[in-house]
Amino acid sequence: MSFDFSLIWDSLPLLLAGAGVTIEITIIAVGFGFILGLIISICRLSSVKILKILAVCYINIIRGTPMLVQIFLIYFALPMIIGERINPFVAAVAACSINSGAYVSEIFRAGIQSVDKGQMEAGRSLGLSWMQTMRYVILPQAFKHVIPPLGNEFIAMTKETSLVSVIGFEELTRRGQLIIAKTYGSFEIWLTVAAIYLVMTLSIAQLVSFLERRFATDDRN
């Protein structure tokens, strides 16, 4: 077997463009996932029973089914209901965001519950509502605890976006497949693709530990 370096060199621009798309979709998905997760975790912890039930259902369904199947459902099954094709980008972002939201909500729930119970009691005893206490007292403290697990979720999502290649959305993995279809350079291309993912995930890990240090010192006076 011969290893063709020039193939890697020639494919790199296309692959890096694909990596750009991967980063884009990851950031959007984690961004929506963050908002969705925050809302769901608050519903999950609220005393309104119906919200709680809905949140638990959402989390269980999303975590209990493969993301690949969720992507198929959104891209292939949903158009049958709404009678309209869905743009692969929209489908990819929707699937990743909905998936991420379930995991992020559990991260937030753990973060919120890690804040001492006395904080909620103190807020309530001062006449703040549950929501006000959440917003001004509990969440600012919880955010610090959730940075490391959120970083993990970000890394996991970076890798999982490769699944949207199955609906033909041209992110990094799909670009790799397309190049291999033309050049048959499986070994070189997959190795390069793997290396690019690794660089991305390691960079995120660095960023997360930087944020962690920042917030750890912010705590003190």
Binding site: G123, L126, N221
Partner: protein, 239 residues
């Protein structure tokens, strides 16, 4: 005036309060004593609905517990100080104090900070306004917690073992603040194990055991001439 009628509270099968009737008048200082697990703290926690009473009625200044709105109204009338201070660790002393006045009373920051600084002067901590709670001693934290509760301009103050989590040398500074409040005519209910303090500050002492008021009366009567066997036994163990 706080009126408590037939207050009962159970946690699952465990009955903590078995029918408490108690009226706290304006300007009155009521000290609640009793063995641990007797339900002392639970009474305070029911007054501002941190615990939902199982049965009975609590009327604070004519406001009876009804919907969520009246709960929040009651909480604005009743300040609470906790055993473990419960200051907000991510905020400075000043921010701790102004948060609720600004959010629930729509006070401007300037107005709220003005009041906060007056209150800090009152508890002797005006130089700590920009400090974070973790840099303060326990006694200082508890005094900030008292100032924070007072910023809501409550008519009543509830103290739930305010000195139990403190090192011995810091107990006095907190008790002095409470005593000054009593002199100013603040109505309060205090759960404490500091019997000397209870004698000094109380208008009335309640002895609670197994979820009922066993005995109540003037401090000297309770401490020196208790009538009930239970009270005598309890006092003999701690005095």
């Amino acid at each position: 005036m706080i009126e408590i009628k037939g207050l009962k509270k159970s946690f699952g099968k465990h009955d903590v309060l078995n029918g408490i009737d108690l009226t706290i008048h304006d300007k009155e200082v009521v000290v609640i004593i009793g063995p641990s697990g007797s339900g002392k703290s639970t009474i305070l926690r029911c007054i501002n609905y941190l615990e939902q009473p199982t049965a009975g009625e609590i009327i604070v200044d004519g406001i009876s517990m009804g919907d969520a709105k009246s709960i929040n109204n009651i909480r604005k009338e009743v300040g609470m100080v906790f055993q473990r201070f419960n200051l907000f660790p991510h905020m400075t002393v000043l921010e701790n104090i102004v948060l609720s006045p600004m959010k629930t009373r729509n006070e401007s920051r300037k107005e709220a900070e003005g009041i906060a600084i007056q209150l800090l002067e009152k508890v002797g901590l005006e130089d700590k306004k920009t400090a974070y709670p973790e840099t303060l001693s326990g006694g200082q934290q508890q005094r900030v917690a008292i100032a924070r509760a007072l910023a809501m301009k409550p008519k009543f103050m509830l103290f739930d073992e305010p000195t139990s989590a403190l090192d011995p040398e810091m107990v006095r500074e907190v008790l002095d603040v409470i005593q000054n409040l009593a002199k100013e005519g603040m109505a309060m209910a205090i759960v404490t194990h500091e019997m000397g303090f209870a004698r000094e500050v109380a208008d009335r002492v309640l002895f609670i055991d197994e979820g009922v008021i066993r005995e109540e009366g003037k401090p000297d009567d309770i401490f020196f001439h208790p009538k009930e066997e239970r009270t005598k036994l309890f006092l003999s163990k701690i005095l």
